[in-house]
């Protein structure tokens, strides 16, 4: 195989893909427009922030200090407090779902506070666990902020402890769940563009019988696959760029890590995703089946098992095991770290290494499954 011949064949095939793409807008729609649409719609529409949470407040201690501690209830749009005389009244309200939470300070709150052992009881209506977690987060944070403003003297660690557990929103000081969503959305969009597009496009050639004609030609299987990847890789990278711009200028999500790490992680993930897509299409040879398989094996796991919506740590061990080996999980971890925490060399190296291994593995498998045979 001569090198100039290889170059010309590749150029012909890649040009063909681009012409087809420009005639059939659906791939550009999926690859570039859909990402933008998704990030606009989901980014601005979906948010886990909750407002006007009805809370029953039971103040058994009537000191001004406690009033001050609990002043956050009045000053924010997040809470709408209902002051009750006794715990019994509060429990009644909770039973009727008039309130979503009970905040109770016992009569020894103020003395304990100065001994550093103060506690405030937070009782949550646990049926809606997601909402409960958000409320708890808000309460935690408000109390922590009060403390910051009032460093307690004496023993130093005057933490209002007890029900209040350590808050995980370290890097989300704006307390906007959108900041979590944007990196996750990018992962989803790259999965659609990578796996979905490639698997559909290749399955189409199987279906229409055009691949059979390409097989009986000097083209090698590697050339056929490479020519498929190049154009759709470009489309997906365009989609990625649009997402990046939207997150920076529209949602003002900080990018604390380095841009080149984000880009190279994305390149690796896209290669892995296209390899997977090519494999799926070679195995199914049918557009409908390919799209179903791609949905089940790439998009849904990326949505559910990668830590995008549900925290992996709260899943049963077996499912956590599946989730933790998915390429999308590594990519998600990498993006979240880079966006919200900054360059963490150790995490970035681990994730990139995993993605590179997946990219190489899927490409080899795709090559092996496209052997220039129709049967």
């Amino acid at each position: 195989m001569s090198l100039p011949g290889f170059g010309r064949r590749m150029r012909a095939l890649v040009r063909k893909e681009f012409i087809q793409m420009s005639r059939d807008n659906s791939s550009i729609l999926i690859g570039a427009v859909l990402p933008l649409l998704l990030i606009l719609v989901i980014g601005s529409g979906v948010s886990l922030d909750v407002n006007d949470i009805p809370v029953a407040v039971v103040m058994e201690d009537s000191s001004p200090t406690l009033r001050d501690v609990l002043s956050f209830l009045e000053g924010s749009s997040q809470f709408s407090p209902v002051y009750t005389a006794s715990m019994r009244d509060a429990e009644a309200l909770m039973q009727d779902r008039e309130v979503d939470a009970i905040l109770r300070a016992r009569s020894d709150f103020t003395p304990n506070l100065y001994r550093g052992r103060a506690s405030i009881q937070l009782i949550l209506y646990g049926v809606d666990s997601g909402r409960a977690a958000v409320i708890q987060g808000y309460a935690d944070e408000a109390l922590a902020m009060w403390e910051e403003r009032h460093p307690v003297d004496a023993e130093g660690s005057g933490q209002p402890g007890g029900i209040v557990i350590v808050n995980r929103m370290w890097f989300n000081e704006a307390n906007s769940s959108r900041w979590y969503f944007i990196p996750g959305l990018i992962v989803l969009i790259m999965t659609i563009a990578g796996v979905f597009l490639t698997s559909l496009i290749m399955a189409r050639e199987w279906e229409r019988g055009t691949l059979e004609a390409l097989f009986v030609s000097p083209l090698g299987p590697g050339e056929i696959l490479a020519a498929k990847i190049v154009p759709y890789f470009c489309v997906a990278m365009t989609g990625f760029l649009l997402c990046l711009l939207a997150s920076k200028f529209l949602y003002r999500v900080p990018l604390r890590g380095s841009l080149w790490l984000v880009v190279s992680g994305t390149v690796l993930y896209l290669l892995a995703a296209s390899g997977m897509g090519l494999m799926i299409s070679s195995a199914t040879r049918n557009q409908f089946l390919a799209s179903q398989v791609a949905l089940l094996t790439s998009f849904l796991p990326a949505l559910v098992l990668s830590g995008f919506i549900f925290d992996l740590r709260s899943m049963p061990g077996f499912i956590r095991g599946i989730g933790s080996v998915l390429p999308s999980t590594f990519y998600m971890d990498l993006l979240k770290t880079l966006f919200l925490a900054g360059d963490n060399r150790r995490i970035a190296a681990k994730d990139c290494a995993a993605l590179a291994a997946y990219a190489a593995g899927f490409m080899l498998l795709a090559l092996a499954s496209t052997r220039k045979r129709v049967a």
């Binding site: 064949r9 095939l13 019988g209 055009t210 059979e212 004609a213 097989f215 009986v216 030609s217 045979r373």
Partner: protein, 582 residues
């Protein structure tokens, strides 16, 4: 030129696990043959004979389980790419990119095969000129007519100079004119470029034009040799006869086929009938009521092919349906006009597909609708069966005006689509129940009609088989049975014999003939011109208008006595196009 064969196969075998049939199929079963270089070799045989598998093995995209195959001096199983670099290939699905233009398709295949850019455009315009596509270079391949598509696919397979050209049914579903043009290109390639051409085809007359013929049946080679030798297999066995006044050619053919002692095959031909004698029988044994002038005839390749396939021991053609008159349509007057078409027009935007045609179809007629690809034949057909509204004109089908009573009229017609349209994962019985129910049949009546249909089409043993697992010919019969459940007055058949082998076609036409005899009116489209001989009357369309109408004999005479229907068709269409061009 070396005398070394272009293709040498020794004991090739290949089996497939067929999920649809639930068993292993031996597509190739110890196949050995040699094909000469620099000539056209044709591969013929019934459906499922292994033709496509053999073609793919030759191209190196299916690996044989065992055996040896040398193509152009290289072992294909070991080094497929060595052969593929010197090979042009046109798969059955044509391999064209529908969303690319004619020129872009050509350029792509030229670049892939490494044609130097300087030669590329010269060769492309030469090939496109030959294929009659020179003025369509900017049109998307998906918007070409069927015949033009096949010619473009052939041009793409020839985009680079190759030593060997392999084509899988390049002329299937293509009209006689385009087919002749395709063959002119192939013969030019073999003669002037010394190219070896291997193709499979359902047309026997094409095989007769080749240098070498290979007959496959059930994965085995039945014959390998010259077309002349194949014809000679039927030497002394062929004869013809003419009908007496008032007897139709079709009736003669039926009577011939009924005489299984003496006759193994019969066809309507040239106003009379042709037949093949059972080996050992003689012309004097042929005594057919209503016939005259029994004479011997020159054997043709098709006769040799039929003799091979129908010889004792080989699996014979499934006998067609019996001629049991359908009670519902009996007693109605023959000759009454059941379809009336006046000034029928259909436009698609500014394009006029059908430009004001008029004709009538009488009860109990078999009426053939013929025309080249893109002639308006399909459009007319679809308007007749109510699938497409007319833009203008008058159309009455079975006494109903389709503009106002389309659904009512549809109860009186049966329709068999070109594509198999029964549910593949339902059994024959379940399909019949469903389609019967869709026409409002139920209970006792439905059961009765299903029983009748099963009897008529001999579907008994397949009733509980899934439709996807039926053998090709039986799929066709099941589709016919379901279209006839509601006892329509008129049956519409859209290219019912496309992609069906000669044996199944015989059986199919037998059941059509018996249906017409029992009072049904049949409208049929086809690309097999010899099938026009089965029709009582035919109409030939081109550019949306009628070029000829009448009995097959009248249409042939109108051209100054063309010997075959194929020839008559080509003359009529070329005459009309020539007149329009000047």
């Amino acid at each position: 030129m070396s005398s070394e064969p272009a293709v040498a196969a020794k004991n090739l075998s290949r089996s497939f696990r067929s999920r649809a049939l639930g068993k292993t199929v031996r597509a190739l079963d110890g196949v050995s043959f040699e094909m000469p270089s620099g000539e056209i070799s044709a591969l013929i045989g019934p459906d499922g004979a292994g033709k496509t598998t053999l073609i793919r093995v030759i191209c190196g995209i299916v690996r044989p389980d065992s055996g040896r195959l040398v193509v152009m001096g290289a072992d294909v199983t070991k080094s497929p790419r060595a052969v593929q670099g010197r090979m042009g290939y046109m798969p059955q699905q044509s391999g064209l990119y529908d969303d690319l233009t004619v020129q872009e398709n050509m350029d792509l295949y030229a670049d892939i095969r490494g044609v130097a850019p300087s030669d590329r455009s010269r060769r492309a315009s030469w090939l496109l000129g030959m294929a009659g596509l020179a003025q369509f270079t900017d049109r998307a391949a998906g918007r070409l007519s069927g015949g033009m598509k096949q010619k473009l696919a052939l041009a793409c397979a020839l985009a680079a100079p190759s030593d060997i050209l392999v084509l899988d049914e390049p002329t299937s579903g293509v009209d006689p004119l385009s087919r002749r043009e395709l063959w002119e290109i192939l013969r030019l390639m073999a003669r002037d470029e010394r190219m070896t051409v291997i193709l499979s085809t359902p047309y026997m007359e094409e095989a007769a034009l080749s240098g070498m013929v290979l007959v496959l049946n059930e994965g085995r080679v039945l014959f390998a040799g010259s077309p002349g030798d194949l014809s000679m297999r039927a030497r002394g066995l062929c004869g013809s006869l003419m009908p007496e006044e008032g007897v139709s050619a079709r009736a003669l053919q039926s009577r011939l086929l009924d005489d299984g002692e003496t006759i193994i095959d019969a066809l309507p031909h040239g106003g009379g009938a042709r037949f093949i004698l059972r080996p050992g029988a003689s012309l004097s044994d042929v005594r057919i009521e209503g016939s005259r002038g029994v004479a011997s005839a020159e054997p043709r390749l098709e006769d040799g092919f039929m003799t091979l396939l129908l010889r004792p021991g080989a699996s014979g053609p499934a006998r067609g349906g019996r001629a049991s008159p359908s009670p519902a349509v009996q007693g109605q007057a023959a000759g009454e006009t059941v379809i009336e078409v006046r000034d029928l027009v259909r436009k698609f935007g500014p394009f006029t597909a059908v430009g004001g045609i008029s004709f009538g179809v009488r009860r109990m007629e078999i009426f053939g609708l013929l025309g080249p690809n893109g002639s308006g034949k399909t459009t007319t057909f679809r308007m007749l069966c109510g699938l497409l509204p007319a833009t203008g004109g008058f159309l009455r089908v079975a006494g109903e005006d389709l503009r106002f009573a389309a659904s009512h009229a549809r109860m009186k017609i049966g329709y068999v689509a070109q594509k198999f349209s029964l549910y593949g994962n339902l059994s024959v019985r379940e399909n019949l129940r469903f389609f019967g129910g869709a026409y409002g049949l139920h209970g006792h009546k439905l059961r009765e009609r299903i029983e009748e249909a099963v009897e008529r089409f001999g579907l008994g043993e397949y009733m509980n088989e899934r439709c996807s697992r039926l053998p090709g010919g039986f799929k066709q019969r099941a589709a016919m049975a379901s279209a006839l459940l509601h006892e329509p007055e008129i049956l519409f058949l859209d290219e019912p014999t496309s992609g069906i082998d000669p044996l199944a076609r015989r059986a199919f036409w037998r059941s059509i003939t018996s249906l017409a005899a029992s009072g049904m009116t049949v409208i049929v489209t086809t690309h097999f011109m010899e099938e026009a001989e089965y029709c009582d009357r035919i109409v030939i369309l081109d550019s949306g208008s009628i070029l000829a109408i009448g009995t097959p004999g009248e249409v042939r005479e109108g051209t100054g006595g063309a010997p075959t229907m194929d020839e008559a068709f080509i003359r009529i269409v070329e005459d009309s196009r020539g007149r329009n061009a000047t």
